[in-house]
């Protein structure tokens, strides 16, 4: 077997309610991709629609990749090695169709350039996971891409926040958003 075939694709498993809201993942992501600390250009973004209810929001790599399917310029493709969605910045026209079709409304536009931002798993060594592990938060963990209910993780910030608020605050959580 060839070397590339032996390596299993990865996935970032997530335990959202453990998120401390430290946003070290955003710092690591933007430093890696943009060489700057740039929270709004980070491919992973921590939402806080209610205080205490922080969670990272980023691509879940659905099995059917609706974003890749819908892209009119074929700017999006699936990495054979990692399973990540790759954005070709030269072909992307910033039309936003991938955002519309994403069940979790995960992709977002680069704040300065006309291209969409989607987690590329850092080519197989995700920086956000490293810092999350280093800080012992363990919200993010790299696992083999096998049988995960991927689409369950592709949810909008509102949907996630609503449930997490109840998980954390019980009945009070219904009123806090």
């Amino acid at each position: 077997m060839a070397e590339a075939e032996k390596r299993e694709a990865i996935w970032i498993a997530r335990d959202l309610s453990k998120c401390s809201g430290c946003r070290r993942c955003e710092i690591a992501c933007s430093l890696f991709h943009e060489k700057r600390i740039w929270p709004e250009a980070s491919r992973i973004r921590v939402f806080m629609l209610a205080p205490g209810v922080e969670f990272p929001h980023f691509c879940a790599q659905c099995e059917d990749y609706p974003c890749v399917e819908v892209c009119p310029t074929k700017a999006l493709s699936v990495s054979k090695e990692t399973g990540a969605v790759l954005v070709d910045a030269n072909t992307c026209i910033g039309c936003g169709k991938c955002i519309e079709v994403c069940p979790g409304k995960v992709p977002h536009m680069h704040p300065k350039e006309n291209k969409v931002l989607i987690c590329d798993l850092c080519g197989g060594d995700p920086q956000c996971v490293k810092v999350c592990q280093e800080g012992l938060w363990n919200v993010l963990r790299v696992v083999p891409r096998r049988f995960h209910p991927y689409r369950l993780y592709a949810r909008t910030p509102e949907e996630i926040a609503k449930d997490l608020a109840v998980k954390l605050y019980g009945e009070e959580g219904e009123r806090l958003l």
Binding site: K18, S20, R23, P39, E40, G170, L176, L177
Partner: protein
């Protein structure tokens, strides 16, 4: 332009609705850095010549929100709020955690200067360069949790409407006031999230006087360029590694002190400082952990320590109360100082105080003071409008806190803060109640007593501080001692979190500053020159004071009378601060910091620091 800065400040005049950008020279930024230091400089330059007549709650006061060059880079996001303080009539650099400072820099601004006073309630909305004064009628009067919920929703909808192509918008970062700030209560805070607060200084009242309910900012740019990113990364790693190993703050936060500081060092306020010792294991941090914590690690931008914990009462009559778990200060001031030794009641009190937009420390101080007057029969049930503030009765104290926030009945007097309330009550009752006020220069003393000599050890810690009773900025000798306010001014001016600096080599902060700005700064250079200049400015404005109160160092450079009473209980029973020692050490400190025998900054010292105009202004005090 110096690296690490966005390069411009936003100035908003709420009276004229004029919005403009202002810049400060590199020289000013190099000397005063940002945050607290720059606040002192701006306030002196703009208001110094008429300082005594400026009403902190009038339109001529300035309200400042300032980041520093290290904001966003040094782990743990904070912003500094300042202005002429309605508590001390001087200048306090009051910092609050959260993402606001980072968002602001990403929006392209190092700070915001708010002048004037709006006609009707407004909030300020900032999205990068788009700055707007918006109607706040819908949120005026709302408590903390509602304000955050409604404003978060409104701002996200607005962003979505204006920039629909961009995808899901994250919430902006918000600073706001609760009902107490709206009613210009002098113990009101400028708040972030639900429970983060810039408390010392009383700037919530200033924000309320300007009818500014909130500021919401979304910045989509990167943080500014730094001089040496590799060095910043390496130093950041050092700070993080150190914090990850700091189990005490990481696991417990400062909440471990609620039992420990009372039992061991005997320096925790109990029943308005009548005692400073207790051995109530019911108030141990393990009780908080098991009974009320619902999130163990909660932090702000880039924070490796996450000393915050989210808490909610799960059983009993206070069920459903939510706050961040009371830290040491609030366990003391909304717990032991009110005779409360029960985590549920303490969390309930903290959640009430959050919701009203009050400062837990200053309000706990004035509530304890009022309860002691009740205990002594000086204030009666009738004075309290039917409430009996007995030690330990959280419901009674919560009701009283609500009256303070709405300035109702006796609450209207207590809303002036402990010292001003003491003066007023003395007048009304014909009894001198000032000795029961545990404050220095209008600011309630933080929950670290000095009588046992085992916690805050200096007899002049608060006496000589340019921020009065503020426990985060105390006087210390030698001046380069890490506990000294000369060093703390650097935290508040670079605008970073002190709690991520524990146990780090002392020069790391200055190396970090160098890596970000490209400017070499040594600890000695900071302490002897730059911090000294800021200290003199703060001292000058504190002594000029006015319009309602002035501080005479001969009288007011002193501890609260209570600190001279012997501790009545505990392992340090009988210990008290000796007045003669305070006088002796005060003189020594005056000498070191360049003040004359009367405590006024010396002419030669001011001139050496290039503060000739300050020297002239102080002539009338000499």
């Amino acid at each position: 332009m110096i690296s690490g800065y966005a390069g411009k400040f936003l100035e908003v005049d709420l009276s004229t609705k004029n919005i403009k950008e202002v810049k400060f020279s590199d020289e000013i930024l190099m000397d005063y850095v940002g945050g607290r230091g720059l606040a002192a400089k701006i306030l002196w330059d703009r208001l110094g010549s008429k300082w005594e007549t400026v009403d902190p709650l009038g339109p001529e006061n300035l309200l400042l929100f300032l980041t520093g060059p290290l904001t966003g880079f040094f782990p743990g996001g904070r912003i500094c709020v300042s202005g002429k303080s309605p508590q001390s009539n001087g200048v306090v650099g009051s910092t609050v955690g959260g993402e606001f400072g980072v968002e602001l820099k990403c929006a392209g601004y190092d700070g915001i200067i708010v002048a004037g006073e709006a006609e009707k309630p407004v909030y300020l909305s900032i999205k990068d360069g788009d700055v707007e004064i918006r109607d706040a009628a819908r949120i005026w009067g709302l408590d903390a949790k509602r304000t955050v919920a409604v404003l978060t929703k409104e701002c996200r909808e607005l962003l979505k409407k204006r920039y629909p192509q961009r995808g899901e918008w994250r919430e902006p970062s918000i600073l706001y006031i609760g009902p107490a700030g709206e009613n210009k209560v002098r113990t009101a805070v400028v708040a972030a999230k639900w429970s983060h607060a810039a408390g010392y200084g009383g700037y919530g009242a200033v924000m309320g006087s300007k009818k500014l309910k909130a500021i919401a900012v979304k910045g989509t740019g990167p943080l500014p360029e730094v001089a040496d990113m590799d060095a910043v990364k390496q130093l950041t790693q050092e700070v993080c590694n150190n914090a990850y190993g700091n189990e005490l703050w990481r696991r417990w936060g400062t909440g471990s002190g609620g039992y420990e500081v009372g039992a061991k060092t005997s320096s925790e306020p109990v029943r308005n400082w009548q005692e400073e010792w207790h051995d109530e294991k019911s108030f141990g941090v393990d009780k908080f952990e098991n009974r009320v914590w619902i999130k163990q690690y909660w932090g702000d931008f880039g924070c490796p320590t996450t000393c915050l914990k989210v808490a909610m009462v799960k059983s009993g009559k206070f069920k459903g109360a939510i706050t961040d778990n009371p830290d040491y200060e609030l366990q003391a001031y909304l717990g032991t100082n009110l005779g409360i030794f029960n985590p549920e009641a303490n969390v309930y009190m903290a959640s009430v105080i959050d919701d009203l937009g009050l400062c837990g420390i200053q309000t706990g101080n004035v509530l304890g003071f009022a309860a002691e007057l009740f205990q002594r029969g000086i204030l009666t049930k009738k004075d309290f409008g039917g409430i009996e503030p007995k030690w330990g009765d959280a419901e009674a104290f919560a009701t009283l806190a609500r009256k303070i926030a709405s300035r109702e009945g006796l609450g209207n007097i207590l809303a002036e803060g402990t010292y001003r309330a003491a003066l007023k009550i003395s007048q009304l009752k014909g009894v001198d109640v000032v000795p029961y006020a545990v404050q220095v220069k209008g600011i309630g003393v933080g929950a670290h007593g000095i009588r046992s000599g085992k916690d805050y050890v200096e007899t002049y810690s608060y006496v000589c501080s340019v921020q009065g009773g503020d426990h985060t900025s105390v006087a210390c000798m030698p001046l380069e001692d890490p506990r000294s306010e000369h060093l703390r001014i650097f935290d508040d001016s670079g605008v970073i979190c002190f709690f991520n600096t524990f146990a780090l080599p002392s020069n790391l902060l200055f190396d970090f500053y160098g890596a970000v700005t490209g400017i070499e700064l040594t600890r000695e250079g900071w302490v002897n020159m730059k911090a000294m200049r800021i200290i003199q400015l703060q001292r000058a404005m504190l002594l000029l004071g006015g319009p309602d109160l002035r501080w005479d160092p001969k009288i007011h450079d002193d501890n609260p009378p209570r600190f001279y009473e012997p501790l009545p209980s505990g392992p340090f029973k009988g210990k008290a601060v000796e007045k003669a020692r305070v006088e002796e050490e005060k003189r020594k400190y005056y000498g070191l910091v360049g003040w004359d025998e009367r405590g006024i900054p010396r002419s030669d010292v001011l001139r050496r620091l290039g503060l000739d105009d300050v020297d002239k202004a102080l002539e009338k005090l000499r």
